[in-house]
Every structure is written in structure tokens, then in C-alpha cells.
Symmetry: C2
Subunit: 539 residues, 2 copies
């Protein structure tokens, strides 16, 4: 083999903050602090603080290369500093999901053997309750807190003291792109959480993926509001991507309610905002009651679960905001697809465009997808055929942290099995039709629970819907639906199935039963937890 004669340049995360310091010294991370005031930190200052933090982490706390260092925090400038300082110290930034159960969180801190945990003062009582004083943890470093705070944690260090002791001349220790840089556990609905261990290289490449023109196309002119938490799939990679391109980054702290979000968007002229559908649903209703101009937003990025089509239409028609569906997984760093329209869609009607926008979009440069049948044959990209979605790419996991590689997650030829069932159109637009485990197999045919749910929530009386499989002696499985109705409203089976009929669903897909439920069961990340429904109604 003849090697190219190009520089052996390591794709490491220090390059990102150094680039920002050099080219965007006056761009900022803007944080809504616990007291509600706004805090601005330039990338030049942030670089200096990060360097000192990395240095002190090594010298004062004894963090070694490869150590896991936990974070338990909202989105704020300290959490941003940790995103760079921990990898810069050669360690692994392990973001702890504050919404996990005490058992899960304890399991995760112990499994990762976190050496140090950085804790947001506003979450200190929660952390004390969930995972206090785990055996591996040598130090608890706290911020956003008064010096006289009372805590049951031992070995407490104050964050600002640590930075004050650091040395700005510190030399970055993430010198090899293969070094682990981040750790994020998936909150599976079954079994213990599984850790995705990112490398410097994978996260660097992922950042370039986020910056692509066909993807979120972030650039220096953007002001990005990261509503998606830093403890959830690395805030979809926005912290690294925004700094790399020199965008201003707006961090809402714990203020994830519609009103403060609306206020921040208007005040700072946000151009890109990213969050789950629930957040945007809340914001929409807030804006109906208290109108504000949010038309500076050029991309309302939605992920986590599918955006109801009606809500997309409302944002685009009523608020003049372009909605960008995105799809990914913790195991994918997380970004896989973004639903940007292609040039051949230009002449479509609005309705047809929204049909395209209801899909998850096509793979960003770097992400490969395929759909497979149960025998492992690749299925055609025709927009109709459903198959198990598999992916590969520079920012996809090859194995879980401290788990044996298993065939249920990885194929023999090196693809990751997403656990999703989807179709893909001729031009690459992927549409998730179900989770593998939620798919309903009835009379030998597949029924997409997601398709039925997405349609049912379009009914004016339905707020949320969960369609799940119930064993059936004749058909093997039949769909049932759990429904949360709009307050004060209700509807019976005939009305709802009649609605499905008007939306083009054949009778065979209509749920056999509808159950009114006050609150649908959800996982810690807010996804429908259908195994609870199956357990309850499956007998």
C-alpha cells in the first residue's frame, strides 16, 4: 500500500475550542442563570477557563487519561466548559441523565466508575437523593451554589475554586483521536442502560456532520438555542458544532418552560432552535396566548420523536418558521438524518411538502443506511417496503461500554441495528414506521403502530395516543390504542376508527379496542413506554 503524504493530524476536540478562540474570540455562550439573569461568556474567555479547568482536574483532582468524569447539570456555560475540559484532560465526559430513576443512575455511576462528578447546584438535592457518595467517586465538584451550602456529599470542591487554581499554559492531553471523549447511557425500556463510548474522532466528525449544508448548516451567523439537554445524547452535538462554526449558543439552564423560551428567542434573535416535539407544542400554545415574533428562526429542529404533522403546519403557516425534522440515536452521537427538502421538491404544493417533512429525512454525509428483511436481505428503497433499519458511519458505536458485542445490536458485517423499522424512498428519505419491538404482526402482515398514532393525534379530541400489540388467538396480534383525550373531551371506538378510515387506513389496521388513559406511560426521556401497556392489557 502507498500511503498518502499528508499530515498525521489528530481529529481531537481541543481543535474545536482552539479554532473558536482564534477566529471567533468575541462570540458567546449565553446562559440563563438559576436566578433568571443572563450570563455572557466569550469564546476567548471560555477557552481560558477551560484550559485552567483541565489543568486543575489533572493536578488537583488526580484525573488520569481515560478516567470517566460525570456531569449532572442543565445546559449552561459550566456544562459547556466541561464538554471541552474533560476531554482536554484526556478523560471521558460522562453526562448523567438527571431524569433516570435512582436505581438506573446508581447503576450507571458505578458501571462507568466515575472518578469525579460535577454537579449543578440547582440539581444538588436531586443528585443527593439519587446517587450520593458512590464508591468510585473521589470528588464532587459543585457550581451554581453558595459557599455555605449544606450537602450530604463528601469530598466537595467548588468549581470556581478549581478554575482559579488551574494553569492556562496547560497542554491538552487528548492527543490521539481514538481516545474516548464522551460517554452517554441509553435509557432502554428493558434491561440495564447501555453506554455509548464516543471517541475524540467520532465526535469531531459528528460536528462536521452537523455543520453540513444539507444538515443543520450551522454557521457563524447563527444564534443557536439548545433546548435539548446536554445530558441527553450530547445535546445532539450542538455544543461542539456551534463552537466550531462560531455561532452564538444560548443555554436555557433549567428554564425549559414555554414562556422563558419564547422570551429568549425573541430577545436574542435565535436562528436555530433544537428540541423535542413536546417543547415545541408547549411553545406554540404559549405564543397563541402571548404573541411574540420568533420569525428569526430559520430552522426549528425537532428530534427525539416524530413531530405531529399538524404542529409542523402550524409553525410554518402561522409563525413563519421552517421546521426541520431530524432523527438519531445515542448510539449515533446522535445525528443520522435531517429532513431538508431537495431541489426536486420545489414545485410541490405545501401539503405535499409537509408530507415529505413528516419523514425523518435523508442521511447526512457520513451516515449510511440500509433496510433489511428478517432473513438479512437488503430491501429496496421504494418508500413502501418496511424493513429493519441498520446504519454505519464514523460516529456510530461498534460496541457498548463494558458489554460483550451482541448480535441483537450489531450485524456480522459491521452495521448497527437501530431497532427501528422504516421505509426509505428512492431519494433517501427515511420514514420510521415503528420500533422493532412495538411493531404489530397481525395475520402475517406488519401494522405500524406509529402510523396509527400519528394519525390519531390529528383528531381534534385526541391529545396523545399509544398503539400496542395484544395477543390474539386468530390473528396472532391485534392493535389496541391507549388514548389521552383533550381535557373535557372523549370519543368512542366508532368515531376514532371512522376517522382512521377517512385518513386512508384499511379496516384491518383499525385498533380493536380504545382505552382512555389519564397519562400514557413514558420512559425517562419522554418516549412512550408501550411495554407497560402490553403488560397491563396483554392478558
Amino acid at each position: 500500500m502507498l500511503e498518502g503524504l499528508m499530515m498525521d493530524y489528530q481529529l481531537t476536540l481541543d481543535k474545536i475550542i482552539e479554532h473558536a478562540r482564534r477566529n471567533f474570540p468575541n462570540k458567546k455562550v449565553i446562559t440563563k442563570l438559576p436566578d433568571g439573569s443572563m450570563h455572557e461568556l466569550s469564546y476567548r474567555e471560555m477557552h481560558s477557563r477551560i484550559k485552567r479547568l483541565s489543568s486543575a482536574m489533572c493536578d488537583k483532582l488526580g484525573v488520569e487519561i481515560g478516567d470517566r468524569v460525570g456531569t449532572f447539570a442543565w445546559n449552561n456555560h459550566q456544562h459547556m466548559e466541561l464538554y471541552f475540559a474533560i476531554p482536554g484532560a484526556g478523560a471521558v465526559c460522562h453526562t448523567l441523565n438527571i431524569r433516570l430513576s435512582p436505581e438506573q443512575l446508581t447503576y450507571i455511576v458505578d458501571h462507568a466508575e466515575d472518578q469525579v462528578v460535577f454537579i449543578d447546584g440547582t440539581l444538588l438535592p436531586l443528585y443527593e437523593k439519587l446517587a450520593p457518595n458512590r464508591p468510585s467517586v473521589k470528588y464532587h465538584v459543585i457550581f451554581n451554589v453558595d459557599k455555605d451550602v449544606e450537602t450530604s456529599l463528601d469530598n466537595v470542591v467548588f468549581y470556581e475554586d478549581l478554575i482559579a487554581e488551574g494553569d492556562e499554559a496547560f497542554a491538552w492531553r487528548n492527543t490521539d483521536e481514538q481516545m474516548a471523549s464522551g460517554l452517554c447511557y441509553t435509557s432502554g425500556t428493558t434491561g440495564n442502560p447501555k453506554g455509548a463510548l464516543y471517541s475524540n474522532r467520532s465526535t469531531y466528525m459528528h460536528s462536521l456532520g452537523v455543520l453540513q449544508g444539507n444538515s443543520m448548516a450551522l454557521c457563524e451567523k447563527d444564534t443557536v438555542l439548545a433546548v435539548v439537554p446536554q445530558f441527553h445524547a450530547m445535546s445532539w452535538g450542538l455544543p461542539y458544532a456551534a463552537v466550531y462554526c462560531g455561532a452564538n449558543l444560548l443555554m436555557p439552564g433549567q428554564f425549559l418552560q414555554a414562556e422563558p423560551l419564547a422570551e429568549m428567542i425573541e430577545q436574542y434573535g435565535v436562528t436555530v432552535a433544537a428540541g423535542v416535539p413536546t417543547i415545541w407544542n408547549g411553545l406554540y400554545h404559549e405564543l397563541k396566548n402571548n404573541p411574540r415574533d420568533i420569525s428569526t428562526i430559520r430552522a426549528l429542529v425537532v428530534g427525539g420523536s416524530a413531530m405531529p404533522r399538524a404542529l409542523t403546519v402550524a409553525y410554518e403557516k402561522e409563525l413563519g418558521v421552517d421546521v426541520l425534522h431530524a432523527w438519531g440515536m445515542t448510539e449515533m452521537s446522535p445525528l443520522g438524518t435531517v429532513c431538508v427538502l431537495q431541489s426536486h421538491h420545489i414545485d410541490l404544493s405545501d401539503e405535499e411538502k409537509w408530507d415529505v417533512k413528516a419523514t425523518q429525512g435523508y442521511g447526512i454525509s457520513g451516515v449510511e443506511m440500509r433496510i433489511m428483511d428478517e432473513e438479512g436481505n437488503e430491501l429496496p428503497w421504494d418508500g413502501q417496503t418496511m424493513g429493519e433499519l441498520q446504519v454505519r458511519g464514523p460516529w456510530v458505536v461498534r460496541q457498548y461500554f463494558r458489554l460483550e458485542k451482541s448480535e441483537s445490536h450489531f450485524t456480522a458485517d459491521g452495521w448497527f441495528r437501530t431497532g427501528d423499522v422504516s421505509t426509505i424512498s428512492e431519494d433517501g428519505y427515511m420514514r420510521i414506521t415503528d420500533r422493532t419491538k412495538d411493531l404489530i404482526k397481525s395475520g402475517g402482515e406488519w401494522i405500524s403502530s406509529v402510523d396509527i398514532e400519528n394519525t390519531l393525534v390529528g383528531h381534534p379530541k385526541v391529545m396523545e395516543a399509544a398503539v400496542f400489540a395484544v395477543p390474539d388467538p386468530r390473528w396472532s396480534e391485534r392493535p389496541w390504542a391507549g388514548i389521552t383525550f383533550v381535557p373535557g373531551e372523549t370519543a368512542d371506538k366508532d368515531e376514532l376508527n371512522g376517522y382512521l378510515a377517512t385518513q386512508g387506513f384499511v379496516k384491518f389496521w383499525w385498533p380493536d379496542n380504545y382505552i382512555a388513559i389519564d397519562e400514557l406511560p413514558k420512559t425517562s426521556t419522554g418516549k412512550l413506554d408501550k411495554k407497560v401497556l402490553r403488560a397491563q392489557y396483554g392478558q
Copy 2:
């Protein structure tokens, strides 16, 4: 060290064409054929042809992994196919610069030991004259040519015959990202040409660099006109970047004259066009005579040498076209900087914006720059201090092909010495003030020949200017200027130095002598060749 557990995914060029086949099957390479007609090739078809070409190259021509395979061609779909098929076969795409001298071309083919050379039929007579039947070359493959063509070359194969014999089921052989994929010789004005040997990885990373929002921001909605030749610094990476993002790519073949370019831009609604200032100067004058609407262009990318400020102003004010200065080098794959304005420039006046746009811009994500004094100390980024520009990054060479690593090109700590002298502003905007070798040192002070030239061409009677050093007993060196006047015009030293005075130049910088010259000496790539002037007038 703890390694991340991410896929060992190789950054190779096959990924780019596979991504386009999957997601942009109906987007196109559009070529102006030698007969002037337009030829359209979809990425789906191109993928199939490339696979067959790679296969036949291996099976029929015996191309081995690491072999160098030459191309001698204009920008067209065949050259595009070769850009992917040669690396796909595990070989090195060696683009031969058709504008080199016979001696240089012969040297290069022999030095690279090209095993096969692909020749554009329209250039066959030129190739026969310059570098016929070199000892290493086993086959000459020709296209754009009739079967009954007469040629002095031996072992001639017809391109379409080769593709017809190929197997579409061919498995890509560029399986390791470190494998060399491209070779491009610089046409230095002194000594033999030197080869930059790109790897799959470096070119892949460079493509992502071109696609960044802060860079050219190419996306699927673009139609890109690549005027910059594929035989010149890989057409600035556009062939790979455009395919990766699914843009349509317009290839002008040998039709680089202003009239056909203007026609193509208007007909296809070009959004991004890339070329050297001479091309855009010609286009501007063509459009003054024969107006056409070219306002679909969102970025007129200019590189190779500095765009005269007056021309930038003319494009923006008169034609509604945004000019994007870019800078790079063959040794940098080639893109280093792009002059996109930053958000803090928004409130500047037009004149102030054009001042910023006259610089080379700031580094794209991945490119690091620094300026150094003669003792190897780093100089400040203040927009004033001039120093030697050094760069590093994932797509910068670490050594030349088959040459010992030398200190005149590479620093001990791993940076590439560009040979340019520049300033860098606080926010990263780099401005080239000279080539190291063209800088004039007079009375212990540096005088920028480029600054004087750029100003002199703003004088209405001056067409081109070359300022060069002449030995001086008192000052060590003094500037002289060679001038090509606008036809029918002339101006004397007093008038020209008076003009420099009005533009803010101190007397010490004024050239001691002006020489009217019919045509200024240029290198094969159209750059001023001042060593000819120094030799002629330096005594």
C-alpha cells in the same frame, strides 16, 4: 489509553459516490462536450460507469494498488469518473497540468511513474507533443475521440471500450483511509515541480471542509460551475464536494471563454462558480457587451490570486453577485481560507465590507494558521504585523512525493511553510502581503509588492502591474514596477506615484522606476513570474 468504542469507519472516497448514488440518484454532472452540445449524466449512471471503469482498470490494464494513473483532460464527466474510479481501484489519480512545459510534463510523468494515462481526445495532439510514450506508461486510454483517430502513442485503449468490459459488481479497493488517492505537482517557478500526494482521508476531510456553512456551504440545492480546471489543485475540491452534497455540477470542457461561460450560467441557473480572477475579469467585460442575468450566482468563488477590489465591487454593485475570496495551495488540497463576512461586519458600510472582502478570509474548520518572524517566534493577530504564514490540518502535506523532507518547507514542530507573508486580524482574517521570495526589504523595512500592485491596477490606465526588488547600494533593495497599460494609454512615474500617494502609500514605498511591458511574464498557472523581471532588470 481508553479507546472510544466507535466504528472503525474508513474515510475513503468511495463513500462519496455511494452516498450520491443512494441519496441523489437523479442529480447530474453536465458537460459541454467538444462539439459544443451538452451531456447530462446522473449520479446513478455515473456510479455504475465508475464501478465498471475501476474494475476494468484493474482487470484489463493491470492497475495495482498504489499505482499512479495519469489524467490529461479538461473538466468533463470522464474526468469526474476518473476522480472516483482511480482511487476506487486503489490507485492514485495523478492530474497532469496541460499548461506545463514539455520538460516539466516529461519530468512529472517519469517522476510519478504513471502506469496508465487517460487522455482527453481534444488534448491528444498536445500530449503527443509534450510527453509521448514515457517508459513507465503501459497504456494510453483516450476519450472524446473517433475510433479512426491517428496517434503516435502506442498501446492505445478506447475509454468506452474499457467501461463496456468492466464489472459493476466490482468491490472498491480503497479500503484504508491512509491509502494515497491523488497526486498533484506544484508548478514552482524554481527547480523541479514537487508532488503533493493526497490520501483518501485527507481528500474526504477536505470535502467536508468545502461543505461547511462558513466555507463554500455547498448543498443539494446548488448548481456548481467548476471553471477552475481539474488539472489544477483538484479543481479546488469541488468534484468531490459537489457529488457528496448532491449539487449539480457543470463542467465546461475546453470552453473557458467568457461567452460560453455566461451562456451556461444563465441557462442552468448556476449558484456557485469558481475560477481565477482573469476568468471573472473576462466574464465581466463580456456581460457589459452582451448582458445576461447571472444573479442566480450566490457565490462567485475567486482563488489562485487576489481579485482586484474594483472587480469585486463591479460584480456586487452592477451584477448582484456575491464575491467570495478563497485562498489555498496545492499542498493544502487546496482550500485554506474563505472570505465569508462575520456577523459583526453586518453594520459596516459597503466600502468597509469590500475592504474585508479583499482579504483572503479566515481558516475553514480544520485549517490552523500562524504567522512567524524570522527567528521562529509567533506574531500577533492584529491585522498589521506581517509574518511568514504557516499552516497545518488534516488536508495539508507533511512531505513531498519522493523528496526528502526539508526545513525550507516544513518546520521542526510540524507546520507547513506556505512561502507567503501575511497579516492576520483579531478575528482570523488573513491577508497575503507577499510571497516570501517577492518581498522587498528596503532599509531594513518590508515593502509588500502585492499591496502596491493591487493599488496600481486600480489606476484607470493600468491593466496589470508587477512590482519587484532591484538591488540598491544604499537601501539594499528598492521596488521597481513593470506595467502593462490599457491599450492606447500610458502614464509616467510622477502620475503613478502621485496616484499611490492619494491611496495612502508613503513615499518610501513608491517604485523608483516604471517600465512599460507589453505582456508581463507569467508561470504556467498564470501567476506573475517576477524572477524573470528580477533577472532582466536586477543588474
